[in-house]
Protein backbone atom coordinates (compact mmCIF):
# COMPACT_ATOMS: atom_id res chain seq x y z
CA UNK A 1 0.00 0.00 0.00
CA UNK A 2 3.10 2.20 0.08
CA UNK A 3 2.44 3.55 -3.40
CA UNK A 4 -0.75 5.26 -2.18
CA UNK A 5 -0.69 8.57 -0.39
CA UNK A 6 -2.07 8.72 3.14
CA UNK A 7 -5.16 10.58 1.98
CA UNK A 8 -5.79 7.99 -0.73
CA UNK A 9 -5.44 5.22 1.84
CA UNK A 10 -8.01 6.83 4.12
CA UNK A 11 -10.44 7.30 1.23
CA UNK A 12 -9.94 3.65 0.29
CA UNK A 13 -10.91 2.53 3.79
CA UNK A 14 -14.13 4.55 3.70
CA UNK A 15 -14.95 3.13 0.26
CA UNK A 16 -14.34 -0.40 1.56
CA UNK A 17 -16.66 0.20 4.50
CA UNK A 18 -19.42 1.53 2.23
CA UNK A 19 -18.98 -1.34 -0.24
CA UNK A 20 -19.17 -4.12 2.38
CA UNK A 21 -22.04 -2.33 4.15
CA UNK A 22 -24.09 -1.97 0.97
CA UNK A 23 -23.54 -5.60 -0.06
CA UNK A 24 -24.68 -6.76 3.40
CA UNK A 25 -27.76 -4.50 3.34
CA UNK A 26 -28.71 -5.70 -0.14
CA UNK A 27 -28.23 -9.33 0.96
CA UNK A 28 -30.55 -8.90 3.94
CA UNK A 29 -33.10 -6.92 1.91
CA UNK A 30 -33.21 -9.62 -0.78
CA UNK A 31 -33.40 -12.33 1.92
CA UNK A 32 -36.45 -10.66 3.52
CA UNK A 33 -38.02 -10.19 0.07
CA UNK A 34 -37.38 -13.81 -0.92
CA UNK A 35 -38.80 -15.19 2.31
CA UNK A 36 -41.98 -13.19 1.94
CA UNK A 37 -41.54 -10.56 4.67
CA UNK A 38 -41.88 -7.50 2.47
CA UNK A 39 -45.28 -8.18 0.97
CA UNK A 40 -44.10 -10.51 -1.79
CA UNK A 41 -44.88 -14.20 -2.10
CA UNK A 42 -42.11 -16.60 -1.03
CA UNK A 43 -39.68 -17.34 -3.85
CA UNK A 44 -40.04 -20.99 -4.82
CA UNK A 45 -38.47 -23.32 -7.36
CA UNK A 46 -36.14 -21.67 -9.86
CA UNK A 47 -36.40 -18.31 -8.05
CA UNK A 48 -35.18 -19.98 -4.86
CA UNK A 49 -32.12 -21.39 -6.64
CA UNK A 50 -31.45 -17.97 -8.16
CA UNK A 51 -31.69 -16.50 -4.66
CA UNK A 52 -29.18 -18.99 -3.25
CA UNK A 53 -26.80 -18.37 -6.16
CA UNK A 54 -27.00 -14.60 -5.60
CA UNK A 55 -26.31 -14.97 -1.85
CA UNK A 56 -23.32 -17.27 -2.41
CA UNK A 57 -21.90 -14.94 -5.08
CA UNK A 58 -22.28 -11.85 -2.89
CA UNK A 59 -20.54 -13.65 0.01
CA UNK A 60 -17.70 -14.83 -2.23
CA UNK A 61 -17.25 -11.26 -3.46
CA UNK A 62 -17.10 -9.98 0.14
CA UNK A 63 -14.53 -12.68 0.96
CA UNK A 64 -12.46 -11.69 -2.09
CA UNK A 65 -12.56 -8.04 -1.08
CA UNK A 66 -11.52 -8.74 2.51
CA UNK A 67 -8.65 -11.06 1.53
CA UNK A 68 -7.28 -8.98 -1.34
CA UNK A 69 -7.65 -5.45 0.01
CA UNK A 70 -8.07 -5.54 3.80
CA UNK A 71 -5.52 -8.35 4.18
CA UNK A 72 -3.41 -6.89 1.32
CA UNK A 73 -3.18 -10.16 -0.60
CA UNK A 74 -3.27 -8.06 -3.79
CA UNK A 75 0.08 -6.53 -2.77
CA UNK A 76 1.86 -9.75 -1.77
CA UNK A 77 4.12 -11.57 -4.21
CA UNK A 78 2.43 -14.10 -6.44
CA UNK A 79 4.02 -17.13 -4.78
CA UNK A 80 2.60 -16.23 -1.36
CA UNK A 81 -0.87 -15.59 -2.78
CA UNK A 82 -0.84 -18.88 -4.69
CA UNK A 83 0.47 -20.93 -1.75
CA UNK A 84 -2.42 -19.68 0.39
CA UNK A 85 -5.22 -19.61 -2.19
CA UNK A 86 -4.53 -22.76 -4.23
CA UNK A 87 -5.03 -25.24 -1.34
CA UNK A 88 -8.52 -23.84 -0.76
CA UNK A 89 -9.50 -25.30 -4.14
CA UNK A 90 -9.51 -28.69 -2.38
CA UNK A 91 -12.69 -27.46 -0.71
CA UNK A 92 -14.49 -27.52 -4.04
CA UNK A 93 -14.28 -31.29 -4.04
CA UNK A 94 -15.07 -31.50 -0.32
CA UNK A 95 -18.27 -29.53 -0.91
CA UNK A 96 -19.37 -31.66 -3.88
CA UNK A 97 -18.56 -34.94 -2.12
CA UNK A 98 -20.09 -34.20 1.27
CA UNK A 99 -23.25 -32.57 -0.07
CA UNK A 100 -23.73 -35.62 -2.28
CA UNK A 101 -23.16 -37.81 0.78
CA UNK A 102 -25.68 -35.81 2.82
CA UNK A 103 -28.35 -36.06 0.11
CA UNK A 104 -27.75 -39.78 -0.01
CA UNK A 105 -28.33 -40.11 3.76
CA UNK A 106 -31.54 -38.19 3.28
CA UNK A 107 -32.64 -40.43 0.42
CA UNK A 108 -32.00 -43.63 2.43
CA UNK A 109 -33.89 -42.41 5.49
CA UNK A 110 -37.07 -44.37 4.70
CA UNK A 111 -35.14 -47.51 3.84
CA UNK A 112 -33.14 -47.39 7.09
CA UNK A 113 -36.35 -46.90 9.09
CA UNK A 114 -37.94 -49.83 7.31
CA UNK A 115 -34.93 -52.07 7.95
CA UNK A 116 -34.82 -51.05 11.62
CA UNK A 117 -38.45 -52.00 12.11
CA UNK A 118 -38.14 -55.27 10.23
CA UNK A 119 -38.59 -58.32 12.47
CA UNK A 120 -36.36 -61.20 11.47
CA UNK A 121 -37.00 -64.73 12.73
CA UNK A 122 -33.70 -66.52 12.94
CA UNK A 123 -33.45 -69.78 11.04
CA UNK A 124 -33.99 -72.87 13.20
CA UNK A 125 -30.65 -74.10 14.48
CA UNK A 126 -29.30 -77.40 13.33
CA UNK A 127 -29.82 -80.18 15.78
CA UNK A 128 -27.88 -83.30 16.38
CA UNK A 129 -24.59 -81.94 15.20
CA UNK A 130 -21.57 -84.06 15.86
CA UNK A 131 -19.97 -81.59 18.28
CA UNK A 132 -23.05 -79.79 19.63
CA UNK A 133 -25.46 -81.80 21.77
CA UNK A 134 -29.03 -81.56 20.49
CA UNK A 135 -30.17 -79.86 23.72
CA UNK A 136 -27.85 -76.85 23.33
CA UNK A 137 -30.36 -74.56 21.62
CA UNK A 138 -33.42 -75.64 23.52
CA UNK A 139 -34.95 -73.62 26.35
Amino acid sequence: MSHQSYEEQKRFVVRGLILLGIITLVEVFVALLAKGHLGMEKWEGAMHYLYMLAMVSASLYKAYFIVFFFMHMAHEVRGLAMSVLMPTLLLVWAIIAFFQEGSSWGASREKIKEKNEQVVTPAAPKTGHLLVPSTTYKG
Binding site: M55, V67, A94, E101
Partner: protein, 313 residues
Protein backbone atom coordinates in the same frame (compact mmCIF):
# COMPACT_ATOMS: atom_id res chain seq x y z
CA UNK B 1 17.18 9.66 27.52
CA UNK B 2 14.53 7.30 26.28
CA UNK B 3 15.45 8.09 22.71
CA UNK B 4 19.11 7.23 23.09
CA UNK B 5 18.43 3.95 24.84
CA UNK B 6 16.02 2.97 22.09
CA UNK B 7 18.58 3.86 19.45
CA UNK B 8 21.23 1.91 21.28
CA UNK B 9 19.08 -1.20 21.48
CA UNK B 10 18.36 -0.93 17.81
CA UNK B 11 22.06 -0.68 16.91
CA UNK B 12 22.96 -3.63 19.09
CA UNK B 13 20.26 -5.64 17.41
CA UNK B 14 21.62 -4.72 13.99
CA UNK B 15 25.09 -5.68 15.03
CA UNK B 16 24.08 -9.03 16.49
CA UNK B 17 22.18 -10.09 13.44
CA UNK B 18 24.17 -8.88 10.51
CA UNK B 19 22.32 -11.50 8.55
CA UNK B 20 22.18 -10.92 4.86
CA UNK B 21 23.03 -14.38 3.55
CA UNK B 22 20.33 -16.94 2.82
CA UNK B 23 21.58 -19.29 5.57
CA UNK B 24 21.37 -16.53 8.17
CA UNK B 25 17.76 -15.79 7.30
CA UNK B 26 18.65 -12.80 5.16
CA UNK B 27 16.47 -13.85 2.25
CA UNK B 28 12.79 -13.73 3.06
CA UNK B 29 10.71 -16.20 1.09
CA UNK B 30 7.86 -14.46 -0.71
CA UNK B 31 9.26 -11.09 0.54
CA UNK B 32 7.30 -11.56 3.77
CA UNK B 33 8.70 -11.94 7.27
CA UNK B 34 8.58 -15.28 9.04
CA UNK B 35 5.78 -14.14 11.35
CA UNK B 36 3.57 -12.82 8.58
CA UNK B 37 4.05 -15.88 6.40
CA UNK B 38 3.25 -18.23 9.26
CA UNK B 39 0.17 -16.17 10.14
CA UNK B 40 -1.04 -16.70 6.58
CA UNK B 41 -0.48 -20.47 6.83
CA UNK B 42 -2.14 -20.64 10.24
CA UNK B 43 -5.14 -18.84 8.78
CA UNK B 44 -5.19 -21.28 5.87
CA UNK B 45 -5.33 -24.22 8.28
CA UNK B 46 -8.01 -22.46 10.32
CA UNK B 47 -9.98 -21.86 7.14
CA UNK B 48 -9.98 -25.62 6.59
CA UNK B 49 -11.27 -26.20 10.13
CA UNK B 50 -14.15 -23.78 9.61
CA UNK B 51 -14.81 -25.15 6.13
CA UNK B 52 -15.01 -28.64 7.66
CA UNK B 53 -17.64 -27.44 10.15
CA UNK B 54 -19.66 -25.57 7.54
CA UNK B 55 -19.55 -28.46 5.08
CA UNK B 56 -20.71 -30.80 7.86
CA UNK B 57 -23.60 -28.38 8.40
CA UNK B 58 -24.44 -28.59 4.69
CA UNK B 59 -24.24 -32.37 4.58
CA UNK B 60 -26.50 -32.77 7.65
CA UNK B 61 -28.93 -30.19 6.35
CA UNK B 62 -29.21 -32.01 3.02
CA UNK B 63 -29.84 -35.27 4.87
CA UNK B 64 -32.88 -33.93 6.76
CA UNK B 65 -36.41 -33.94 5.38
CA UNK B 66 -37.01 -30.46 6.85
CA UNK B 67 -34.77 -27.72 8.20
CA UNK B 68 -35.72 -24.64 10.25
CA UNK B 69 -35.94 -21.40 8.32
CA UNK B 70 -33.45 -18.76 9.54
CA UNK B 71 -35.85 -15.82 9.31
CA UNK B 72 -38.20 -17.71 11.65
CA UNK B 73 -35.52 -18.75 14.14
CA UNK B 74 -33.42 -15.58 14.29
CA UNK B 75 -36.09 -12.97 14.78
CA UNK B 76 -35.54 -11.37 18.17
CA UNK B 77 -33.71 -8.14 18.87
CA UNK B 78 -33.06 -6.27 22.11
CA UNK B 79 -35.37 -3.30 22.81
CA UNK B 80 -37.72 -4.42 20.02
CA UNK B 81 -40.93 -6.31 20.65
CA UNK B 82 -42.30 -8.71 18.10
CA UNK B 83 -40.86 -10.45 15.07
CA UNK B 84 -37.78 -8.81 13.49
CA UNK B 85 -36.28 -11.40 11.17
CA UNK B 86 -32.51 -11.10 10.63
CA UNK B 87 -32.38 -7.50 11.88
CA UNK B 88 -30.20 -8.11 14.92
CA UNK B 89 -27.72 -10.33 13.10
CA UNK B 90 -27.38 -7.65 10.41
CA UNK B 91 -26.37 -5.27 13.17
CA UNK B 92 -23.81 -7.83 14.41
CA UNK B 93 -22.41 -8.14 10.88
CA UNK B 94 -22.04 -4.36 10.70
CA UNK B 95 -20.19 -4.33 14.03
CA UNK B 96 -17.65 -6.81 12.64
CA UNK B 97 -17.26 -4.89 9.36
CA UNK B 98 -16.66 -1.69 11.35
CA UNK B 99 -14.05 -3.34 13.53
CA UNK B 100 -12.33 -4.69 10.40
CA UNK B 101 -12.21 -1.17 8.99
CA UNK B 102 -10.75 0.30 12.19
CA UNK B 103 -8.17 -2.50 12.05
CA UNK B 104 -7.13 -1.40 8.54
CA UNK B 105 -6.74 2.14 9.88
CA UNK B 106 -4.50 0.88 12.71
CA UNK B 107 -2.24 -0.91 10.20
CA UNK B 108 -2.03 2.24 8.07
CA UNK B 109 -1.08 4.37 11.06
CA UNK B 110 1.53 1.73 11.93
CA UNK B 111 3.16 2.12 8.54
CA UNK B 112 3.45 5.84 9.27
CA UNK B 113 4.99 5.00 12.68
CA UNK B 114 2.22 7.04 14.32
CA UNK B 115 1.96 5.54 17.80
CA UNK B 116 -1.10 7.45 18.97
CA UNK B 117 -2.97 6.63 15.77
CA UNK B 118 -2.19 2.94 16.16
CA UNK B 119 -3.34 2.85 19.78
CA UNK B 120 -6.54 4.79 19.04
CA UNK B 121 -7.63 2.53 16.18
CA UNK B 122 -6.60 -0.62 18.06
CA UNK B 123 -8.81 0.42 20.98
CA UNK B 124 -11.67 1.01 18.53
CA UNK B 125 -11.16 -2.48 17.13
CA UNK B 126 -11.15 -4.02 20.62
CA UNK B 127 -14.42 -2.21 21.37
CA UNK B 128 -15.95 -3.53 18.11
CA UNK B 129 -14.96 -7.08 19.03
CA UNK B 130 -16.37 -6.69 22.54
CA UNK B 131 -19.69 -5.34 21.23
CA UNK B 132 -19.91 -8.31 18.86
CA UNK B 133 -19.33 -10.73 21.74
CA UNK B 134 -22.00 -8.95 23.77
CA UNK B 135 -24.46 -9.31 20.89
CA UNK B 136 -23.65 -12.98 20.62
CA UNK B 137 -24.21 -13.42 24.35
CA UNK B 138 -27.66 -11.83 23.92
CA UNK B 139 -28.46 -14.08 20.96
CA UNK B 140 -27.41 -17.25 22.77
CA UNK B 141 -29.26 -16.27 25.94
CA UNK B 142 -32.46 -15.67 23.99
CA UNK B 143 -32.17 -18.98 22.17
CA UNK B 144 -31.27 -21.06 25.22
CA UNK B 145 -33.27 -19.43 28.02
CA UNK B 146 -36.35 -18.15 26.19
CA UNK B 147 -36.71 -20.35 23.14
CA UNK B 148 -35.47 -23.64 24.63
CA UNK B 149 -32.90 -24.42 21.95
CA UNK B 150 -29.81 -26.31 23.16
CA UNK B 151 -27.25 -28.59 21.59
CA UNK B 152 -29.63 -31.51 22.23
CA UNK B 153 -33.00 -30.03 21.35
CA UNK B 154 -34.40 -27.82 18.64
CA UNK B 155 -37.94 -26.51 19.05
CA UNK B 156 -38.01 -24.93 15.57
CA UNK B 157 -39.79 -27.09 13.03
CA UNK B 158 -41.33 -26.90 9.58
CA UNK B 159 -44.37 -28.88 8.48
CA UNK B 160 -43.64 -31.78 6.15
CA UNK B 161 -47.17 -31.77 4.68
CA UNK B 162 -50.30 -29.61 4.50
CA UNK B 163 -52.65 -29.93 7.47
CA UNK B 164 -54.58 -28.34 10.32
CA UNK B 165 -53.85 -27.65 13.99
CA UNK B 166 -55.79 -29.70 16.55
CA UNK B 167 -56.83 -28.68 20.07
CA UNK B 168 -55.93 -30.75 23.14
CA UNK B 169 -59.46 -32.22 23.22
CA UNK B 170 -59.01 -33.59 19.68
CA UNK B 171 -61.20 -31.02 17.91
CA UNK B 172 -59.74 -29.14 14.95
CA UNK B 173 -58.59 -25.65 15.91
CA UNK B 174 -60.54 -22.87 14.24
CA UNK B 175 -60.52 -19.09 13.91
CA UNK B 176 -63.36 -17.12 15.58
CA UNK B 177 -65.18 -17.06 12.21
CA UNK B 178 -65.25 -20.85 12.21
CA UNK B 179 -62.66 -21.50 9.46
CA UNK B 180 -60.01 -24.12 10.37
CA UNK B 181 -56.50 -23.02 11.37
CA UNK B 182 -54.57 -24.70 8.61
CA UNK B 183 -50.93 -24.80 7.54
CA UNK B 184 -49.05 -25.56 4.35
CA UNK B 185 -46.07 -27.78 3.71
CA UNK B 186 -42.93 -25.83 4.67
CA UNK B 187 -44.70 -23.49 7.13
CA UNK B 188 -42.77 -22.75 10.32
CA UNK B 189 -43.76 -23.52 13.89
CA UNK B 190 -42.05 -23.47 17.30
CA UNK B 191 -42.56 -25.86 20.18
CA UNK B 192 -43.29 -23.55 23.12
CA UNK B 193 -42.41 -24.00 26.83
CA UNK B 194 -40.32 -27.11 26.32
CA UNK B 195 -39.75 -29.47 29.25
CA UNK B 196 -38.60 -33.04 29.72
CA UNK B 197 -40.81 -35.62 31.38
CA UNK B 198 -39.80 -38.36 33.83
CA UNK B 199 -38.47 -40.53 30.98
CA UNK B 200 -36.37 -37.61 29.71
CA UNK B 201 -38.64 -37.31 26.65
CA UNK B 202 -39.11 -33.83 25.24
CA UNK B 203 -42.52 -32.24 25.71
CA UNK B 204 -43.97 -28.85 24.92
CA UNK B 205 -47.03 -27.04 26.24
CA UNK B 206 -47.95 -25.27 23.06
CA UNK B 207 -47.12 -24.34 19.51
CA UNK B 208 -46.25 -20.94 18.11
CA UNK B 209 -47.48 -20.44 14.56
CA UNK B 210 -48.28 -17.64 12.14
CA UNK B 211 -52.01 -17.03 11.73
CA UNK B 212 -53.75 -15.73 8.61
CA UNK B 213 -53.14 -12.11 9.68
CA UNK B 214 -49.39 -12.99 9.78
CA UNK B 215 -49.25 -12.53 13.54
CA UNK B 216 -47.41 -15.09 15.63
CA UNK B 217 -49.78 -16.66 18.15
CA UNK B 218 -49.73 -19.61 20.50
CA UNK B 219 -51.87 -22.71 20.26
CA UNK B 220 -52.44 -24.32 23.69
CA UNK B 221 -51.80 -27.76 22.22
CA UNK B 222 -49.06 -29.53 20.26
CA UNK B 223 -51.37 -31.68 18.14
CA UNK B 224 -51.60 -31.47 14.36
CA UNK B 225 -53.37 -33.41 11.62
CA UNK B 226 -51.89 -33.71 8.14
CA UNK B 227 -54.27 -33.65 5.20
CA UNK B 228 -51.70 -35.10 2.82
CA UNK B 229 -48.76 -37.49 3.01
CA UNK B 230 -48.55 -40.96 4.58
CA UNK B 231 -49.98 -39.82 7.95
CA UNK B 232 -52.97 -38.00 6.42
CA UNK B 233 -56.05 -37.96 8.64
CA UNK B 234 -54.31 -39.12 11.80
CA UNK B 235 -53.90 -36.70 14.72
CA UNK B 236 -50.25 -36.69 15.83
CA UNK B 237 -47.93 -34.72 18.10
CA UNK B 238 -46.06 -32.08 16.14
CA UNK B 239 -42.45 -33.28 15.86
CA UNK B 240 -39.50 -31.28 17.19
CA UNK B 241 -37.15 -29.86 14.54
CA UNK B 242 -33.93 -31.70 13.60
CA UNK B 243 -31.76 -31.51 16.71
CA UNK B 244 -28.59 -31.29 14.61
CA UNK B 245 -29.61 -27.68 13.99
CA UNK B 246 -29.05 -26.68 17.61
CA UNK B 247 -25.78 -28.58 17.92
CA UNK B 248 -24.38 -27.15 14.69
CA UNK B 249 -25.49 -23.61 15.52
CA UNK B 250 -23.89 -23.55 18.97
CA UNK B 251 -20.70 -25.34 17.92
CA UNK B 252 -20.02 -23.26 14.82
CA UNK B 253 -21.02 -19.81 16.11
CA UNK B 254 -19.34 -20.77 19.40
CA UNK B 255 -16.10 -21.66 17.64
CA UNK B 256 -16.28 -18.38 15.74
CA UNK B 257 -17.08 -16.49 18.95
CA UNK B 258 -14.08 -18.14 20.58
CA UNK B 259 -11.94 -16.77 17.74
CA UNK B 260 -13.41 -13.31 18.33
CA UNK B 261 -12.73 -13.66 22.05
CA UNK B 262 -9.08 -14.66 21.58
CA UNK B 263 -8.76 -11.93 18.95
CA UNK B 264 -9.99 -9.33 21.43
CA UNK B 265 -7.46 -10.55 24.02
CA UNK B 266 -4.55 -10.41 21.57
CA UNK B 267 -5.66 -7.05 20.18
CA UNK B 268 -5.76 -5.67 23.73
CA UNK B 269 -2.30 -7.03 24.56
CA UNK B 270 -0.84 -5.64 21.34
CA UNK B 271 -2.57 -2.29 21.89
CA UNK B 272 -0.95 -2.08 25.34
CA UNK B 273 2.43 -3.04 23.86
CA UNK B 274 2.02 -0.38 21.17
CA UNK B 275 1.12 2.21 23.80
CA UNK B 276 4.21 1.27 25.79
CA UNK B 277 6.38 2.03 22.77
CA UNK B 278 7.60 -1.55 22.28
CA UNK B 279 7.06 -1.51 18.53
CA UNK B 280 8.71 1.88 18.05
CA UNK B 281 12.03 0.27 18.88
CA UNK B 282 11.50 -2.49 16.34
CA UNK B 283 11.29 0.02 13.48
CA UNK B 284 9.50 -2.38 11.19
CA UNK B 285 6.38 -0.31 10.52
CA UNK B 286 4.47 -1.91 13.42
CA UNK B 287 4.52 -5.32 11.79
CA UNK B 288 2.87 -6.87 14.85
CA UNK B 289 -0.23 -4.78 14.10
CA UNK B 290 -0.22 -6.15 10.57
CA UNK B 291 -0.05 -9.74 11.84
CA UNK B 292 -2.90 -9.42 14.35
CA UNK B 293 -4.72 -7.47 11.63
CA UNK B 294 -4.54 -10.50 9.32
CA UNK B 295 -6.06 -12.64 12.08
CA UNK B 296 -8.80 -10.11 12.79
CA UNK B 297 -9.80 -9.79 9.13
CA UNK B 298 -9.92 -13.57 8.96
CA UNK B 299 -12.44 -13.62 11.81
CA UNK B 300 -14.57 -11.20 9.77
CA UNK B 301 -14.07 -13.39 6.69
CA UNK B 302 -15.33 -16.47 8.51
CA UNK B 303 -18.36 -14.51 9.71
CA UNK B 304 -19.22 -13.77 6.05
CA UNK B 305 -19.69 -17.51 5.53
CA UNK B 306 -21.32 -18.22 8.90
CA UNK B 307 -23.77 -15.41 8.07
CA UNK B 308 -24.37 -16.96 4.66
CA UNK B 309 -25.11 -20.51 5.73
CA UNK B 310 -26.92 -19.90 9.04
CA UNK B 311 -28.84 -16.71 8.39
CA UNK B 312 -29.26 -16.21 4.64
CA UNK B 313 -29.69 -19.62 3.02
Amino acid sequence: MADTSVKHAHETHEHDSDNTGSWEGGTEPFKASYGKLMMWYFLLSDAFTFAGFLIAYGALRFSMPTWPEPDWVFATAPFLKGHWPLIFVTFMTFVLIFSSVTMVRAVQEGHRENKNGVVFWMVMTVLGGAVFLGCQAYEWTTLIAHEDMTIRQNPFGRHSYDGVYVMADGKEASYPDGSPISFKKGDNYTMHHVTRDANNELKAEGLLYKNKEHDIVELPSTKIKYTSGPDAGRTIEAPFGPKAFGALFFFITGFHGFHVFSGVLFLAIIAINAASGLYVSRRNGYEMIEKIGLYWHFVDLVWVFVFLVFYLL
